[in-house]
């Protein structure tokens, strides 16, 4: 059955839809946690520390965190590999373009592929910047996430990369959530307006929520 899934265009798309929904779920939780930054370094750093003891005493130190990381990494990889293979196939299936072309579909729909590539690169930068601190500006301090976030958003390029990526994320989620619902067979005529409304709400709330953090740093609300 796993082979049937992976060999079929439908199966690969279902893998994309399911992993996409996992990642949207993660984004929602991630946003809620990040909002603690507006309540001062004490609360935000304590939340960062809790992530490491999450699930205790059942789970060993950092196990909960690593389980989440593994699930997310698997989701990103499966999502990306499926998207790459399906895109290659799609391009091969339409080798010759029409002479007479017109703009088709919505902007969010047309930018799914390159938007996805931008998001993939952003995730790499985001992890190097705020998890490992490899590319962090102004001295990365392990265990002091509040200060690290403020450092990142005190640079112009940190703000630009982050805000551009969050706008791309919003558009990706807008078409992606609705698409995933169709791919997983959950859509129909009566539900369509609700699904589109949820997709738009998710896109707007996630984008505005995440962008509020650099804006908070820029305006001095978070410092």
């Amino acid at each position: 059955m796993a082979l049937t899934f992976w060999q079929s265009t439908l199966g690969k798309k279902i893998v994309m839809g399911a992993t996409g929904l996992i990642m949207i779920g993660y984004l929602c939780v991630h946003l809620l946690g990040n909002m603690k930054i507006f309540f001062g370094p004490g609360e935000f750093n304590a939340y960062g520390h809790w992530l490491r003891v999450m699930g205790a005493p059942v789970l060993h130190h950092e196990w909960g965190l690593w389980i989440a990381r593994i699930v997310l990494l698997a989701s990103v990889v499966l999502h990306g590999v499926s998207a790459y293979q399906l895109s290659r196939r799609d391009i091969k299936a339409r080798p010759q373009k029409y002479v007479h072309t017109k703009p088709r579909a919505s902007y969010a729909t047309r930018t799914m592929r390159w938007g996805g590539v931008i998001l993939g690169l952003f995730i790499v930068w985001h992890v190097l910047d705020l998890t490992t601190g490899t590319t962090h500006s102004g001295g990365f301090q392990e265990g002091h996430p509040y200060q690290n976030v403020v450092d990142t958003f005190s640079t112009w390029y940190g703000n630009v990369i982050y805000i551009v990526a969050m706008l791309a994320m919003g558009m990706h989620v807008r078409h992606g959530f609705w698409s995933a619902a169709q791919t997983l067979g959950a859509g129909n005529r009566t539900r369509d307006r609700a699904l589109k409304a949820i997709a738009n709400a998710l896109a707007i709330v996630l984008t505005a929520g995440f962008i509020s953090i650099p804006v908070g740093v820029m305006t001095g609300v978070v410092s």
Partner: protein, 248 residues
Amino acid sequence: MKLTLRVWRQKNPDTPGAMATYELDGVSQDMSFLEMLDVLNEELIVKGEEPVAFDHDCREGICGACSLVINGDAHGPERTTTCQLHMRSFQDGDTIDIEPWRASAFPVIKDLVVDRSAFDRVIQAGGYITAPTGSAPEAHATPVPKADADYAFEHAECIGCGACVAACPNGAAMLFTSAKVNHLNVLPQGSPERETRVLDMVAQMDAEGFGGCTLTGECATACPKGIPLFSITAMNKEWLRATRKVKR
């Protein structure tokens, strides 16, 4: 009406084609698009040139033989088949671009004619029901709820013209395949093959080299018979269900 036509001309599958420009005068607004092409071809024949090859059959909008991408739209600007498109949809002095369906699964045979036999093979893979032949069955022996009958008919309207593939940026045949799957899967007559039908037809669709679905919705917009985009959603659901039920 005086028109400038830019038509895809291609001698055979192995020769590269190109757009050729023709001026056509004396076109009536009451002509169908195909009758306009007939007039062009008569002029070409008189001049000793090769007429433009294009597919057509019933010219009533029910057979699915006619094709043509007109100004970038499969079957042109109206939501109907090319044979039912009339020249009143155009203005005097217009330039009209006419191209064949574009998809690697639909190779060009000549000019505007493409080989759509990939659709036939998708149908052969499962677009049928097993029924004993012989005398007609008693009509009341198999009751079909009205809602199911309507649903089946909505999908049975598909004439297999291929506009969905032509319009899809990925050259996908999802709308065609889903129309056939949903048409038969909802009916009691189609239920013995419900699972194998969707698995086999989707597998054949992939084997023919059609692309995948990115839900741009172009197919449903182009469909002259109004097959809804949710047909694809319903097929995805049937496919997921079938993968759970059938062990392969």
